[in-house]
Amino acid sequence: MAGKHDGRIMTFHGTYYVLKAEKLLQKEGIAVEAIAAPRHISSDCGICIRFNLSDEERVRRIIVTASIEINGVYDE
């Protein structure tokens, strides 16, 4: 999983989309996990996904292709 300095956080507009994104990305072999949104990040539903910075482009492509709206992407 992402180390302290290379992790990225992605938020969505609801729990369902966080879980859907996590499942989709795991299916594509990307190291991802759903976590409670860190204190410094605002999330509508209180949870988000965390993945490695090096996977960001792939993650964005997969999420957009699945027509899931991204709320925000942040450093961990």
Binding site: H13, G14, T15, Y16, L19, E33, A34, I35, A36, A37, P38, R39, S42, D44, C45, G46, I47, S67
Partner: protein
């Protein structure tokens, strides 16, 4: 499911939970209700009573803790850049869900925070309440995982975001001026300065840590994340320790609210499910409202309306029993929540 915890955030959440528990116990020592030194729902009920929306004088007071928590959270949000007026996510539905949440809360006498405080005080009935709360949140997470959503909110004007603060500021002026049309019980309240100080600090901590007594269980059930749950655990531990130190522990003896296992369980199932649909416990709703979220402000007003109805229509636990009306309100509330849950799922 792998269990996880964010260490740095957990320390802050635990600190906030510790302050909430100890602060509530100290306010009880100074005069606030037993096992409810701070309770967002019960204090909202007291505000509803003070404004004349129900007629139980004992539960009528303009609780300064609510005002102080909100302004403490607003201050923290403004300083840290988190003040963001937003709203428009199923606003009317949230009002009614908040109202139903109140039916459960007052059938038992305890919002999620007060359930923890009742347990910390030594009330064995709180165990049935916590089991019901967990069951309600568990059912709620099943709805969430299957697409339940009240829809996304949109950025709104600053006037909208500040309307709730204006309402609270008026309440504070009324508390100070004490006009004849406001009902203020002279029983069971701590000195104003203590209430303001404890509430203000708790508001700041709540805003900075996202402390939520529903979110903790939800995240644990949904994704195995225990970070927020530490807030509830530390609330109970710190209130228990403070109660012992202040000599107000009553281990094994039930003092307030319902002690009926089945109805305590069912009432808190309603609270757990309703709060999961709203996205957080009444405390979290108050913090979000203070940050400018009008949907959360409406949820708090729904709680207040529900509290007034509970006492006007005998839904609430009163005179050592829960009337048939209260039992019907709990069952009807549960059914309505299921209908809301089924009909608010995303199809994609």
């Amino acid at each position: 499911m792998r269990l996880k915890i964010a260490r740095s955030d957990t320390l802050w959440v635990a600190a906030a939970g510790t302050f909430a528990g100890a602060g509530a116990a100290v306010l009880t020592y100074f005069g606030n209700p037993v096992d409810g030194g701070i309770s967002i729902a019960c204090f909202s009920r007291d505000i509803a009573g003070a404004l004349g929306f129900h007629q139980v004088i004992e539960f009528s007071y303009l609780r300064p803790e609510i005002i102080a928590i909100a302004f403490g959270a607003a201050l923290a949000a403004v300083v840290k850049g988190g003040f963001q007026p937003a709203g428009g996510s199923s606003t009317l539905l949230r009002f009614f869900i908040g109202m139903i949440c109140s039916f459960g809360i007052f059938a038992f006498i305890g919002c999620p925070m007060r359930v923890g405080l009742r347990l910390a005080g030594g009330d064995p009935a709180a165990l049935a309440g916590i089991a019901g709360l967990a069951a309600g949140i568990g059912i709620g997470t099943i709805f969430l995982a299957n697409g339940f959503s009240l829809g996304k909110s949109a950025i709104t004007s600053r006037t909208n975001g500040l309307a709730f603060h204006f309402f609270l500021a008026v309440l504070f002026i009324l508390l100070i001026v004490k006009p004849a049309f406001i009902t203020l019980s002279h029983q069971r309240h701590a000195p104003l300065i203590a209430s303001l100080a404890a509430g203000g600090v708790l508001g700041i901590l709540g805003q900075r840590t996202k402390l939520c007594f529903i979110g903790g269980f939800r995240n644990a059930f949904l994704i195995g994340d225990l970070t927020l749950l530490t807030g509830f655990v530390f609330l109970v531990i710190s209130a228990l320790v403070t109660n012992v130190l202040l000599g107000q522990e009553h281990m094994g003896i039930h003092i307030i609210g319902s002690a009926d296992i089945v109805w305590s369980f069912l009432a808190l199932t309603v609270v757990g499910l309703a709060s999961t649909f709203l996205g957080g416990c009444p405390f979290r709703q108050l913090i979000l409202a203070a940050q400018g979220n009008t949907d959360s402000a409406i949820s708090i007003l729904g709680l207040m309306a529900g509290a007034a109805i509970s006492y006007n229509y005998y839904f609430a636990f009163m005179a050592d029993s829960l009337d048939r009306n209260g039992k019907m309100a709990v069952i009807a509330g549960l059914l309505v929540l299921f209908i809301i849950g089924v009909y608010n799922r995303k199809k994609t």
